[in-house]
Symmetry: C2
Subunit: 354 residues, 2 copies
């Protein structure tokens, strides 16, 4: 099928065309740029929700419930399940997907699992591109689910408009690894499995880290929880306190849920709606999407540079010839990189501008 | 202090010069390339061990014991503790470091905590550079410890010669997230806290995933463990079986340990030594280090390109001007990226070569 014809069928809402376009875009097959370019004007309508958290936190169950709730409102939903730790699609994710079968037969729902690309690709970039495809196809809500709380997962979650972080009492250790960086990136926190021991303490800890609890002596925090109290800076506490009276500020709520029983989902959906309203009213949606677009273009630039450089056999071969002298210590990686950039055309005319 | 004088003191083994050089290199301060370039011929002597695993697996305890064991052999040891989840140095890592105080007062030991850089930097690249500094200073062993099992952590661990993955019975869920990618990157597996319930099963699961267990019916694997049996491909099983009789092949051992009691450390040190002997005898050390060097140069090239492009105010400003039309859909990220690369000098003269 020609690219034009594929786009035509895509625009006509044909599911087979959607699946095909997603595959082309996800794998950067020939013509993906043209396709993404032609879809681009139709993007920007879907609300994108990122869902992240440690393994076993119940993200898939919550995703299923969110999908169901959105469907009940008559909205079409796309789900992108991303697993940055696996070079393949499979294993745990497939297991998780089984639980989603109940929604998978609904034509108003599209589910796609994505695994990591090579280090030269970029999972966050690929996720964003597939999300753009679903957005252009007409899905009203996109749920981007990613496993884990590391940098790669964060980058993926940050491609969304609203980021939801799911925690569970037994992931006690993981609060140690959350730290301020992750706390600051999430718009909504969920303490799932809220009927288990430790749920109150987890909730308390998260609220403390967010500065939501006022008048609480910091001495009360159990030291072994690994929370660095110096991070609870006064400016932040003041800002958060002001938020409750200022409709253009957002205070991340900490919600309790027992997803396996469906408890707390109404609150989560309401919080997502409230967050989106805040994003629109405060102008944050606009600035956040502009920031994402800036990152997007910068990603594309980086990808193009690396494609042009490393897919060129002369550059590759030349680099290979230099490696022995780098190993022997007669050349340095920096000198080789400089020469490569100079002779391979040359980048940014870096020399002339500095 | 001039750069030359700093290098002179560094070469004379002054600890203050070491700390200063590490800071300059870690933060890419002015002159870091010259410094790394001048140290470069002195690198390549240290054996680099990467240690990774989920939070709470006991990595820091094992690191401390490794350091002690290396010191008992009269070897100087550098430790780089990397935390990709945190934008700051602190919290959990600081807590961990307290446990290492016993070794921290020894001048034959140097410990450095590193946190994540911005997404344009690269934690793996920075780790490698700091490791090069410690190598050049004369440390015989480098232990690179990183928290987590995601892609960023893997990239960090892969900068080492030998990669050790630490697991614990309670990280049952994490075996779901390990998958083939991580299993293939580790040279040595440790089941720590081996006296806890589930240790045997974890060990069994890991050995199955590695194909170490022959004649075991796959039907015996508990399905809920999320192991995809299709990954246990016959070629791999055959290769692993051959390994036991071929000294130039490596079969990753699965070792048990109770690090808090010091149990199993002798075996771990022996396995690391055996692995290094294998790396040298099989020629793998040479090919692996060449592969790392290739990645290193490619990283430097990417970093230089992005520095030259995005530190240039004209390029930045021009991009800013384009963003509205990208948002409105009259321009695409790809077209903007193409134009940016064309007009910003450069790049790879991509047009002429394709």
């Amino acid at each position: 099928m020609s690219s034009d014809r594929l786009i035509e069928e895509f625009n006509a809402g044909k599911p087979a065309a959607l699946a095909r376009v997603v595959s082309i875009v996800e794998n950067h097959r020939d013509g993906f740029e043209q396709i993404l370019g032609s879809l681009h004007p139709r993007t920007g309508r879907a609300r994108r929700v990122g869902l992240t958290g440690p393994p076993g936190a119940g993200k898939s169950t919550i995703t299923s419930l969110l999908v169901k709730s959105f469907r009940d409102q008559g909205l079409k939903v796309g789900v992108i399940a991303v697993d940055p730790t696996s070079p393949f699609t499979g294993g745990a994710l497939l297991g998780d997907r089984v639980r989603m079968e109940s929604v998978a037969l609904d034509p108003g729902v599209f589910i796609r699992s994505m695994a990591t690309r090579g280090s030269l690709g970029g999972l966050a970039a690929a996720t964003r591109e597939v999300a753009d495809v679903l957005d252009a196809f007409g899905f009203d809500r996109l749920v981007i689910e990613t496993v884990g709380v590391g940098q790669s997962e964060l980058d993926v979650a940050r491609t969304a408009d609203s980021t939801v972080l799911v925690l569970v009492p037994e992931s006690g250790d993981s609060i140690q690894t959350l730290k301020a960086g992750v706390m600051e990136v999430a718009d909504i926190f969920i303490v799932n499995k809220a009927d288990r021991p430790g749920a109150d303490r987890l909730r308390n800890d998260v609220e403390l880290m967010l500065g939501l609890r006022k008048g609480v002596s910091f001495g009360n925090v159990p030291a072994h929880h690994g929370i660095d109290l110096k991070r609870l800076n006064p400016a932040r506490l003041a800002r958060e306190a002001a938020a409750s009276t200022n409709p253009t500020q957002w205070t991340p709520p900490v919600l309790s849920a027992i997803a396996t029983k469906g408890e707390g989902i109404t609150d989560i959906v309401a919080a997502i709606d409230r967050h989106f309203a805040y994003l629109e009213q405060s102008g944050t949606l606009r600035s956040r999407r502009r920031e994402r677009m800036r990152e997007r273009v910068m990603d594309v630039v980086g990808q193009k540079v690396s494609d042009r450089l490393w897919k060129d056999p002369h550059t590759k071969a030349w680099l290979e010839e230099q490696l022995p002298s780098v190993e022997e210590g007669t050349a340095t990686p920096f000198a080789v990189a400089d020469q490569l950039l100079r002779q391979s055309g040359e980048l940014v005319r870096g020399e002339e501008r500095t």
